[in-house]
Symmetry: C2
Subunit: 249 residues, 2 copies
DNA sequence: CAGTGGTCTAGACCACGTA
DNA sequence: ACGTGGTCTAGACCACTGT
């Protein structure tokens, strides 16, 4: 088998460590699971004609992303099973996109877009004064005529941010809209996940009988500098929705 | 206020970047949230009399762990709210320790320790042949006379690994035992979390009526090199157990 | 012993944001 | 223009592992 060895492009503007990283990923996917090649730093330095820094940065990111593991005085080795699909942590607000990728045809409905003072629990989580108003709305995602998830969203946003229901339905996520229009990125988040029995509004929101099981996900969203910027309570139909995430520690 | 500035110890064997990192964490906790000090690389280099590498490594880890954020051409800034307790992702098998830290008195009971061929679903997840045997057992954690969680665990382990129920109850985690005795560390994991209605064995395991809501957490455990090494299905009493995790992306 | 990754030094050039 | 973090070079010494 003839293997055309990839080389680096020093004029492309793409950092060397990213090119190295991508080449190694491609090679591992292509079947280096049969641990053929040695990924020692020295080998990569001589192979790509670079110094240690870009090699180490590439390997560092590969470790963080779970592609390889390193053992002191032993070497760097690819993890097994890179060909099988590994679950990625669900992106925030990326549920619509994910469902489409899965070949489903999700529909989003947004109700009750308004701006008012949130309930005490939410106000506390967002660290707001008793009179501060936030943008709020309800979003229901339906798949195959069945209501899959109902979310109540509270967003600390400038008064100028007054999206319509239509805009919120078309945008993949309200958070994306907020970033595009006002440069506010709510990239940090804290999730609380538990099971409960549907009752009252929760039951009605998903057309469930009282007492039926639901999955509740409460999320506090934070800006890069750690200030609360949003709060969301999502109710999922039991069994139909699974939260998936991986850890390397 | 007199501030005794911490200095580095080059003889302690502790890497400089770790010392720098810890000093910065302490200072931020002490109240640098009032963004008093500048954490630019140049400032830290001159302050600690080191080169750029340890400073960058310290800051890199602080970013990864959510203590600071960096903006190109602007600077490095502490995130707000470091004094309030942030949720840490629950350590695998660390539930007993966590409950004790919370001042509760959890009790663990282990039943049915044995070694046999697992059901098809588990065998598939673990990538085993039809005749491979694994160690299996059931573990129930009780708090205040109430069964909180019931786990069915399947462990790929050498035949010599034959812990007693007693040993498994006293060890914080079967995974710890496996690492201590055979050097097998199942550090990687993939979690699937959803809500369901208790029925059959699941209902009996937690003394619930049929149809009551439960939280199901299925976890595939992997070794550092990515080979499946264990599988666990945990059933949690609804409302009493919350899965908490944070993300910086 | 040689090879590995972990840590550190002392420089360099660049893109980008602020002033 | 200047300061910031992002990237890269070319060295160095160390601890640890396997032979």
């Amino acid at each position: 088998m003839l293997m055309t060895s990839a080389t680096l492009d020093r004029t492309s503007g793409v950092p060397l460590y990213r090119q190295i990283k991508q080449i190694l990923i491609d090679e591992m996917r292509a079947g280096a699971g049969a641990d053929g090649l040695a990924m020692t730093e020295e080998a990569l330095i001589t192979r790509f004609h670079v110094s240690r820094a870009p090699v180490r940065q590439a390997l560092k990111e590969l470790v963080d992303e779970g592609y390889v593991y390193r053992e002191r005085a032993k070497g760097t080795f690819p993890v097994q099973g890179l060909n099988v699909q590994r679950p990625a942590t669900l992106q925030l607000g990326g549920l619509m996109g994910y469902l489409r990728e899965q070949g489903l045809s999700p529909e989003a409905k947004v109700y009750g877009v308004s701006r008012f003072v949130p309930p005490a629990e939410v106000r506390k989580g967002l660290g707001l004064a008793a009179s501060d108003k936030v943008l709020t709305f309800t979003r229901v995602i339906t798949v195959k005529e069945e209501k899959l998830v109902s979310s109540q969203v509270y967003l600390c946003s400038p008064p100028e941010f007054e999206p319509t229901s239509r805009e919120l339905e078309e945008a993949g996520s309200a958070f994306e809209l907020l970033q595009q229009r006002h440069g506010i990125d709510l990239t940090r988040s804290e999730h609380h996940v538990w099971a409960s029995a549907a009752k009252g509004d929760d039951a009605a929101a998903l057309d469930l009988a009282e007492g039926e099981p639901i999955l509740v996900v409460e999320t506090l969203l934070l800006t890069r500098d750690g200030r609360p910027g949003g709060w969301r309570r999502a109710i999922h139909r039991a069994d139909d929705f699974k939260y998936v995430f991986a850890s390397n520690r």
